[in-house]
């Protein structure tokens, strides 16, 4: 589909007509017919039942993380999705909020302000910081802004690490502000109008309320004067300026709103974790938030919320090998079903992969009878154990296979027609082998690999994200 010369409205109509075709059309039509507010309310009600449905505090904790993620993603969405400003220092606001809350509610400097006041101070300060960081955005365009903000984020982490032995002219010895690498611990819980938030479940509901309030607020903002002005700014800053929009004020406002949201999330994070540490605010988190926004579709509120939920829950699922396997093979199968047509070709590829697996497994088992099988697990693992090759030095062979797999996957994306059908079983089997020998055992590395891959693949395949509206450049 050529995109040149279509605008946002045409693209939306195109998407809608597409939704009324195909097998799943009735489902999609009904779903799209329900007003967005109802869909959101239903989803939130379901989520609100989570702590009731489970007595595992771990699951609730994951929910808390997902909400923190959701808040951060919504805030970043204002800056990146609406206003189109690439802010790579966003995580510093989160950290700044967390550290401010920690300093004002712990024994670090011996101040214990009431939470109502602290939260207001945090939000005001981070909004102010957003404003200040936004100031260069009046002059710096695009990439340059990305650099300055990226370095700002780095400077924040460096300061958090190094401001533990600050010598001040009026103090006797070195002053410990941030606690250095050890961070600040023993932070007071949030106490609002006499209610103390003590358990993870309490924070879950606090964040739920905050998330709903923010989502509703942002939804109303989207269609407002300011929201439309932001989008105009994103699409073409120069044209927006010519139309008389206060471009600089809009940029600063976007930075301030994004900063305030992140600051609030940071304060709650500090209270939930009862401590803050510099490594909580490193680039990994920034990338995860970006992945959430990009995956869901920058600019689309439901998209960003779903993206945040996926990105927050997904690493937790990876921790259990059986679930991780289900997801991996599910995604691979789903991808094949979606991409391979006709059905006969799909069947041929799958059969080829299975047969190839048994042949290789048989050969390796015959050659090295005492090599270990796949890591222990449930039924899936046992079934896979009979299929995945078992060479000795599985780690080394797995590493070599990984190095081969990446170019192989890239090459397959370039192949067309029968060549692709012929190449697929080998590549699939290689992927399964790498997954079983290396990735399943290293969830944190796998998470990083997948996050990186998501960013690249989403950008090349569907830059608008899963739920975003395609953006088209007018020529």
């Amino acid at each position: 589909m050529t995109k040149i010369g279509t605008d946002e409205w045409v693209a939306q109509v195109g998407e809608r007509t597409e939704a009324y075709r195909g097998l799943t059309a009735p489902v999609r039509r009904t779903w799209n017919g329900i007003p967005l507010g109802w869909r959101f309310a239903a989803a939130m009600l379901l989520v609100a039942l989570l702590p009731v449905a489970t007595d595992s505090s771990y699951v609730v904790r994951v929910g808390v993380n997902a909400f923190l993620f959701g808040l951060l993603a919504l805030g970043l969405n204002v800056v990146v999705g609406y206003a189109g400003l690439l802010d790579l220092g966003y995580i510093a606001f989160y950290g700044f909020g967390a550290y401010t809350y920690a300093l004002l509610s712990s024994d670090q400097i011996g101040v214990h302000l009431p939470a109502e006041l602290t939260l207001i101070v945090v939000v005001a300060l981070t909004a102010g910081l957003g404003y200040v960081l936004g100031l260069p955005s009046r002059r710096l365009l695009g990439d340059y802004l990305a650099i300055v903000t990226l370095f700002f984020g780095q400077v924040f982490v460096q300061l958090a690490i190094h401001l533990d032995r600050l010598s001040l002219p009026w103090a006797d010895g070195p002053v410990n502000v941030t606690g250095g690498p050890n961070g600040i611990v023993g932070i007071d819980p949030i106490r609002l109008v006499g209610v103390t938030f003590s358990s993870v479940t309490d924070y879950f509901y606090l964040l739920l309320v905050a998330f709903v309030a923010l989502a509703v607020g942002l939804h109303r903002l989207t269609a407002s004067r300011t929201g439309r002005a932001w989008r105009a700014l994103r699409e073409d800053p120069l044209a927006a300026e010519q139309m008389g929009l206060p471009v600089n004020r809009l940029k600063l406002l976007a930075f301030a709103v994004g900063g305030a949201v992140a600051g609030f999330a940071g304060a709650v994070f500090a209270a939930v974790q009862v401590g803050v540490f510099p490594q909580n605010f490193e680039t990994l988190l920034l990338i995860m938030i970006y992945a959430a926004v990009i995956l869901g579709g920058a600019g689309s509120l439901p998209g960003v919320a779903i993206g945040a939920a996926v990105i927050a829950v997904f690493p937790e699922v990876l921790r259990t090998p059986d679930y991780a396997r289900l997801i991996f093979y599910g995604v691979v199968l789903g991808g094949l079903v979606a991409l391979l047509r006709p059905w006969s070709r799909l069947a041929a590829v799958l059969a080829g992969t299975v047969v190839l697996g048994f042949v290789v497994r048989f050969a390796t088992a015959a050659a090295w009878p005492d090599a270990a099988a796949v890591a222990p697990g449930g039924l899936v693992a046992r079934a896979l154990g009979a299929w995945v090759a078992t060479p000795p030095n599985a780690t080394t062979v797995g590493n070599v296979a990984f190095v081969l797999l990446v170019p192989a996957v890239l090459a397959v994306t370039r192949l067309r027609g029968p060549a692709r059908t012929w190449a697929l079983p080998t590549v699939l089997y290689l992927a399964a082998f790498v997954w079983e020998t290396r990735l399943v055992a290293e969830p944190s590395v796998t998470r990083q690999l997948v996050l990186g891959a998501i960013l690249v693949v989403m950008m090349t395949a569907r830059p608008q994200g899963l739920l975003g509206t395609p953006r088209v450049e007018m020529l």
Binding site: R139, D143, V155, L238, I294, Q448, G452, M459
Partner: protein, 305 residues
Amino acid sequence: MEFFVQQLVNGLTLGSVYALIALGYSMVYGILKLLNFAHGEVYMVGAFIGYGVLTMAGGAADPVLPAAVLVPLMFLAAMIGSGLLGVAIERFAYRPLRDAPRIAPLISAVGVSFFLQAAALLLFTARIRNYDTPELIPFSVGVEVGPLRISLVRILVIVTAVVLMVALTLLVSRTRLGKAMRATAYDREAAAMMGIDTDRVIAATFFIGSVLAGAAGVMIGLVFSRVFHFMGFLAGLKGFTAAVVGGIGNIPGAMVGGLLIGLAEAYAAAYLSSRFSELVVFTILIGVMLVRPSGLFGTPALQKV
């Protein structure tokens, strides 16, 4: 005074490495207007390739080849490997996004950088690898200049960097490819209409930039002996700072910027505190960006409609 001169040598060594990294950033930016965030990771991969060659040759303590053969071999392998990696990144992560909004390739670059880091972590674990350079080229070997001695490794690094930079300058100013690169950087569409295969020119640019990054990786390995999966991030940031300080897109600017950043870091570490040397570098960058966003040698960018 001795200390001062010693730091000068340190700064020049660091600076020439940063300059090589900065050149890659600068060339890619000049031609595509793209911040190649994955460039630091290409440098990291170069350092690991050098390490791999060294290990395959039996390690620094007991190499099967004499150092005079082994070191050039390490450079060569790292440069070619990194160069090919750079071309592959361009082909699969950037080329499909050539006409997408500017933010798309940038995010794609962040993704590539993240992927490569995780891949290195998977393959080599988080353990810091050591080149053990002193066993290969003893630090006692060197040139005596007055009271202080400059070790052979540092001389090797500085000389190699200078040779590479001269070669690059000649390539860009004298060859047909260089001319095509300049034309493409000036106006890609017009260059394409004049019969220049811009895709190939861009691929060549990525190759050359990545070759320099690979060489820089081996150099850092030789001087500081430490190779690990996360090394590309900070070095990338600093190389990037150098490119921006010199005026991004400007080749001599990147060289001067690299040396400046290297010297600033060495002197900050020596006279202020090693804890704050990175802060100093970042502060320089933010300061330059705010006062003179186009860098020391860059021409102010005009927004064309």
